[in-house]
Symmetry: C2
Subunit: 97 residues, 2 copies
């Protein structure tokens, strides 16, 4: 599935709620989902971990819908088969980053 198709699915499923909830509250939900992902990373439950990755991505797409950002366009514009900082493939920026 393309990044745009996933964002569009989120729009179809949730935009009536996301738009009502608004930017700040939707962002706060994303933050909470990132925290839940952090907890799942400490366990050995692969299914729970996959669910939390799905949730973070879903809320990121929902937030993008609320502020009218095309996530696929944004991601592929900045990350276009080379590191946006050093312009190399693979990245050769000084480590650590």
């Amino acid at each position: 599935m393309s990044i745009s198709e996933f964002q569009e699915m989120m729009h179809h499923l949730y935009f009536h709620r996301d738009s009502k909830r608004g930017v700040t509250c939707t962002y706060n939900w994303l933050v909470d989902e990132v925290k839940e992902l952090g907890e799942a990373l400490k366990t050995d439950d692969k299914k729970a971990l996959e669910d939390e990755f799905a949730d973070v991505f879903a809320w990121l797409a929902s937030l993008a819908n609320v502020v009218d950002v095309d996530l696929e366009k944004a991601a592929t514009t900045k990350y276009n088969n080379k590191c946006p900082k050093c312009q190399n493939t693979p990245c050769e920026c000084p480590f650590p980053k």
Copy 2:
């Protein structure tokens, strides 16, 4: 671009660094990027906002690479054209959530 293709691009560009940095530090970078997204949401700079969405998605894909999670499979398994909670299209869960 598919979700998997984006994750694979992140693998090609950054896995040599992500794997060395490890799970905790890569997660901490994701958290920092989410904070930067929160700051960008307070501005009127659309380009900066798009860049921050790109960065959060990129670090989410990097983290998924480090823990060997297929982000597209995880996202489309949980979100399969219906709300995973109420099973409706669009979602009819009690609001707010």
